[in-house]
């Protein structure tokens, strides 16, 4: 869901750039998806962003390319959301791609979860509100065996507990 939304935003941005010299078209902006309760898990996924991504064999929020800015933006929004919804506790699950050995990947996933947690704590979220877990490579979100799938699977995913 998150990825589809990002894709939709990108398409709008491209359209806007192409048509910049013409008369601006107006179109309705989609309202937040109906039925989503503010402060819920669905709200976190749809309107905040529940995950950050990591470089191969790395566990820092800082990454290559646009990753650093995207990760910081997502975690900043998570911190603000957690400041708004103080009754919510969260779990951050660290994950790894399949291009690594099982035991090392569990430790690597734990490091990724801890990196995301440390960022949120630095942004003022109480450490006691955030638990962490690592699934190593055992809970991939993308099921393929290619670079795109692997980049999706090197993540830390926040969820409401």
């Amino acid at each position: 869901m998150n990825i589809q939304i990002l894709g939709a935003f990108a398409a709008v941005a491209l359209l806007a750039a192409c048509s910049s010299s013409e008369t601006p078209k107006t179109e309705p902006v989609a309202a937040p998806v109906k039925g989503i309760v503010p402060g819920s898990q669905e709200d976190l996924v749809a309107n905040v962003g529940d995950r950050v991504f990591f470089d191969f064999d790395k566990s820092t929020v800082k990454g290559t390319g646009a990753k650093t800015a995207a990760n910081m933006s997502t975690l900043d929004k998570q911190a603000a959301w957690l400041a708004q919804w103080k009754q919510n506790n969260v779990q951050i699950a660290g994950n790894a791609d399949e291009r690594g050995t099982s035991e090392y990947n569990i430790a690597l996933g734990a490091k990724r979860a801890n990196a995301a947690r440390s960022y949120l704590v630095a942004k003022g979220v109480a450490a006691t509100r955030i638990s962490t877990i690592s699934f190593g490579k055992d809970r991939p979100v993308a099921l393929g065996s290619n670079d795109e799938a692997w980049s999706q699977n090197r993540n830390a995913i926040t969820s409401v507990r």
Binding site: T101, A107, P140, A142, G144
Partner: protein, 458 residues
């Protein structure tokens, strides 16, 4: 569960000559010495060398005495044949080539066996002892000189016939090759099923040949990386029960599992110390993971504190050293330290990342996984890092485990998914000898990973 785990077996010698041979201590020095002292000259082979000429062996069906014993005679001969052929060091002669009757006469007609090129002959007979008790008599013959090498009788229950076949296979292996066998063993592993994003992973156990498969956990939680206790029917493994990933001990007798130690972080990658009194494992920290020695009776001692990922520790069989995996130098490499955590030195220097080190039961080699840019490989090196040899390479393989005689490795191999739904992915157990020959898949009812070979059964 207990019947296959600990069914009683009685062994005794048949004749004076074989009894004295049986009583000879198992020689465990250099192979050449052991062979010279322990096996007939014509049958000695070098198991260190790649085999291009496996020993031709004839294994006629064991002669039954009617009823269940006839079926047992066929089945036992079949399991022995399968064991010896699969190990790569024997060639079972097709029974269609056998000449004359195989009626287990007191002395075989060796001319008939010489004529078809048999170097060794295995004969046996089975008598009912009343109820479900049977007596299985087995003889191993050296065909060229026409001599009995071994004669043994076993009294057991009908349902225990597979163990008898494995024990006989081990006797043949040891008498012909001068080294302990590995057939009377089990493998604990992780059975995988379902889609990859909701994978069910169950603790499972089977005989080394893939038979007697049993699922030990119900799949309600992830189970990973099981390892056998050196002497007890106990397994250390990683369990995600209650969403709290920790190292647990699983009792094969009762089916109960119990968390080992009380750690705030995730605990993982357990292996028993050679004395069986403690487990060496890793605990995650904010910056990586540290290695701990945890007593089964309580108490824990931290052995590393590098600020990096230190994981997958394994003791040398004499208990004096520990090999482990660490990315303290930038990427994953293998390190050896002494048992108290001091004198750490890196031993892997080849191209790529190195992981999952496992010390051979003989102490002479360390098996590992090597990760290069596009492939994974299973290899061996000496404990000082010299003599690295890659045995098998593919898209993905990892996690070697040693047969108790240190001659064969088992590991698991995964195939790549060919589409975005994960179709084409598979995970299978594979065995290979340490010369890199005789690679074979082990049939399992589901996908399989994380194998760990048991010691020889008691």
């Amino acid at each position: 569960m207990t019947d296959f785990l600990s069914a009683p077996i009685r062994r005794r010698g048949l004749v004076a000559a074989s009894t004295s041979l049986l009583a000879a201590p198992a020689l465990w020095t250099r192979p050449a010495l052991a062979q010279a002292a322990n096996a007939p000259g014509s049958a000695v082979i070098d198991v260190d060398r790649a085999r291009t000429d496996p020993i031709p062996v004839a294994i006629p069906v064991f002669v039954g005495s009617g009823g269940d014993t006839d079926r047992l005679g066929r089945d036992i001969a079949g399991v022995i044949t399968n064991n010896l052929a699969r190990c790569g060091l024997f060639r079972a002669i097709d029974p269609a080539a056998f000449i004359g009757k195989t009626d287990n006469a007191p002395s075989p007609n060796f001319q008939n066996w010489k004529a078809i090129g048999a170097q060794a002959l295995v004969t046996g007979k089975i008598d009912s002892q009343g109820g479900d008790k049977v007596r299985v008599e087995f003889r191993l013959w050296d065909v060229l000189p026409g001599l009995q090498i071994q004669g043994t009788a076993y009294t057991t229950t009908l349902s225990n016939w597979r163990r008898i076949a494995h024990i006989i296979s081990d006797v043949i292996y040891e008498r012909m090759l001068g080294e302990k066998g590995y057939f009377d063993t089990r493998v604990v592993y992780i059975a995988g099923s379902g889609p990859r994003d909701r994978r069910v992973k169950r603790l499972s156990i089977m005989d080394q040949d893939g038979e007697n498969n049993r699922f030990l956990t119900d799949g309600g939680f992830l189970a990973l990386t099981p390892r056998f206790h050196p002497t007890r029917d106990q397994i250390a493994f990683m369990s995600y029960v209650n969403d709290k990933p920790r190292v647990y001990l699983f009792d094969l007798g009762t089916g109960r599992q119990q968390m080992l130690g009380n750690f705030p972080g995730i605990t993982l990658s357990p292996r028993f110390a050679p004395d069986g009194n403690s487990v060496i494992m890793a605990q995650t920290t904010n910056s990586g993971s540290d290695i701990y020695l945890v007593g089964l009776g309580g108490g824990a001692r931290r052995l590393t504190d590098s600020g990096a990922i230190d994981v997958s520790p394994c003791f040398s069989p004499d208990g004096t050293q520990i090999v482990f995996n660490s990315d303290r130098g930038g990427d994953q490499q293998l390190y050896v330290m002494d048992a108290s955590g001091g004198s750490t030195k890196r031993i892997s220097f080849g191209r790529g990342r190195y992981a999952t080190p496992v010390w051979s039961p003989r102490g002479d080699l360390i098996a590992f996984t090597r990760q290069s840019s596009d492939t994974f490989a299973i290899g061996i090196m000496r404990p000082d890092g010299s003599g690295e040899r890659i045995l098998s390479e593919s898209f993905f393989c990892e996690g070697p485990t040693w047969a108790p005689n240190g001659r064969v490795l088992m590991f698991y191999r995964e195939t790549a998914a060919r589409d975005s739904r994960g179709n084409g992915f598979s995970s299978r157990l594979v065995s290979i000898d340490i010369a890199g020959f005789n690679e074979r898949a082990i049939a399992t009812p589901t996908d399989a990973s994380d194998p760990a070979w048991s010691p020889l059964l008691q």
